[in-house]
Symmetry: C2
Subunit: 360 residues, 2 copies
């Protein structure tokens, strides 16, 4: 899904309001198909009376050329979003997982090819024994031709390939949860790459989710670009590295929390994130965001502490003074490998129930 040059020439504002953004930047092709997919998904969830959460995850990009060779990116593996999606699913929510293409996803996140490659825990079963480790494996001697691939006659059975014993229990947990979610049809996946795709998708999905009223939650964990290049300023071809320096001048991305709260989805329970690297700025910026946009929760995290500590910033009972409440994993929990998202989602599920008006 990439942006094309708009056909009419429109004066380009230096600071974009949300309205100006959507009037001057073209929607990505494929947007309508994505929205239809979301609409069908939500139809089923509403019929089942299920609560829904839109989880956004991963970083957005700002392409520097129309034929993208270079782009500005925001650092985000998608760990927070992918992990949280699993806990929301476990808590009975339907999840729209809107994530950066190729970033972490629920379930498969446990098996990164870099850190936990699944090829390492598969065994090929020969008729008499199981070959797993390379020492067991009956391979040709390591000559110049490393790989003599087995050739099978049409009626010869292909050996079974199974998960090694030591990895079974963990994989079973993940696989069971994965299959249950597939069967229940409670996970819908949407992808974005550029900040333009992200903004158009978020707006369109918010419009659809508005029909779920208070049953909709927004968990905006994506790392969204603050700055972008309007298509009118973009070069068509790869910027040539000539003799001098490269100067990139970028405009601010409009803050879409404002129209989200005011217009697109006034009934939704909106949770945004604030990531800071300077600890002194964390709470002030989180409070500022809540004041400015009027949504329900800002979850603040320090880049270096985010795996074991977050701060919830909100107005208790949705009125009155803004309060902070810190959520931390203790040393024992960290050692046990507990994921902080379990507690984050637990807390949000309760607050969402209160928002919906259910007596606990």
């Amino acid at each position: 899904m990439s942006s094309a040059i708009p056909s009419s020439a429109v004066p380009i504002p230096s600071t974009f309001s949300a309205e100006a953004y959507f009037s001057t930047q073209l929607p990505p092709p494929g947007l309508e198909a994505e929205v239809n997919g979301v609409r069908e998904f939500l139809h089923r969830q509403n019929a089942a009376g299920r609560k829904v959460v839109l989880v956004t995850s991963g970083g957005t990009t700002v392409p520097l050329e129309l034929n993208v060779v270079r782009f500005l990116d925001n650092f985000s593996a998608g760990t927070r979003g992918a992990t949280s999606a699993e806990y929301f699913l476990e808590a009975g929510y339907a999840v729209i997982f809107m994530h950066r293409q190729f970033s972490l996803q629920p379930f498969s996140r446990h098996y990164s090819h870099s850190t936990n490659p699944f090829l390492d825990f598969l065994e090929i079963e020969t008729s008499t024994s199981t070959s797993s480790s390379t020492s067991d494996f009956d391979s040709p001697s390591p000559t110049d031709s490393n790989t003599q691939l087995p050739v099978f006659e049409p009626d010869e059975e292909v050996p079974r390939i199974c998960v090694t014993a030591s990895k079974r229990a963990d994989l079973l947990r993940v696989l069971t949860a994965y299959r249950a979610v597939q069967k229940a049809g409670t996970l819908h996946t949407v992808t974005f790459v550029t900040v333009n795709e992200y903004l158009w998708l978020l707006r369109a999905i918010s419009h659809e989710l508005a029909f779920s009223g208070r049953r909709a939650m927004y968990y905006l964990a994506a790392a969204v670009s603050d700055f972008f290049l309007p298509t009118q300023k973009m070069s068509e071809h790869k910027i040539q590295s000539g003799k001098g320096s490269l100067v990139i001048e970028m405009d601010q991305v409009p803050k879409i929390l404002k129209p989200m709260v005011d217009e697109w989805t006034p009934e939704g329970f909106i949770v945004s994130f604030k990531l800071e690297t300077d600890p002194k700025l964390l709470v002030p910026k989180a409070r500022q965001a809540l004041e400015r946009y009027g949504h329900q929760v800002v979850i603040g995290n320090d880049l270096h502490r985010r795996k074991f500590e977050v701060v919830f910033v909100s107005r208790p009972g949705d009125s009155g003074d803004i309060k902070e409440s810190w959520l931390r994993l203790d040393e024992e929990e960290v050692k046990d490998g507990k994921e902080i998202e379990k507690d984050i989602i637990s807390e949000l599920v309760q607050r969402h129930l209160a928002w919906i008006g259910v007596t606990i």
Copy 2:
């Protein structure tokens, strides 16, 4: 591996020669350990008389802050590099696979979590039957609690998890090749993220590979940043999105092919890549690179045609006029899913043998 601010203040040149770069930008922590790993690997390969290729793959980043939140990136999934590495291994080469962290790797590249998730082709075997599809799976009814995880008594056996029949043949091919390479110990993996890490690693590994003389090939498929931010110009904390536009002024990355050819590894067979989006520029720029640096081959590819067409630019017999020779997959081959890297590597293996001086 991230860069720290150098302790001494040095005047910052606006255009960096390779020498100036390595004097003013600090090496990444962990460089020495990486080099030691490469050295040990090469020791074994040299003892076996094996040819070695350094394959670089994926894009490099230019962080905009010292506490990285944003960075400039080069578009590259790593397909070319990861696919080529497999064919080099098949051809009997030892491979140093120097790739962007989390980009595609040989073997696991076939099982992208987005396009071919392995969780989808695993079956849980119950005592009486195999449960694979969600309709077979004996899961709890889809209520608000989607996942009732099985609990196993200590002496109860965990069910086996095996690959579904229809996926076995393909996976067996990949798994067999993977295991053979692990057993032969012919694949060594190195990771980078930033352009700074890339440059320091490339220089250090070239120095080690110089000992392999003509038996060393360099297959430089990585998408390297042309521009970067010297650490001295970088901000420490996340750049705050204030009211105005963001201006980023970047310096040119030194062209390291020059010192590679002239100083670091004069005997190596060096293959570089040229990616262009404007077809008119492809051959001229590829020829220009060969003229400028004096290495062995430039492989040119057009962004939109690279999966089925490349151009080899070289001086036949290493002297005389520069010639181009096009390598294309025909329609039949494309339809059969043939990978162009098979032919690229085939061609390069022959040229490398000639370089080494082996009579074919």
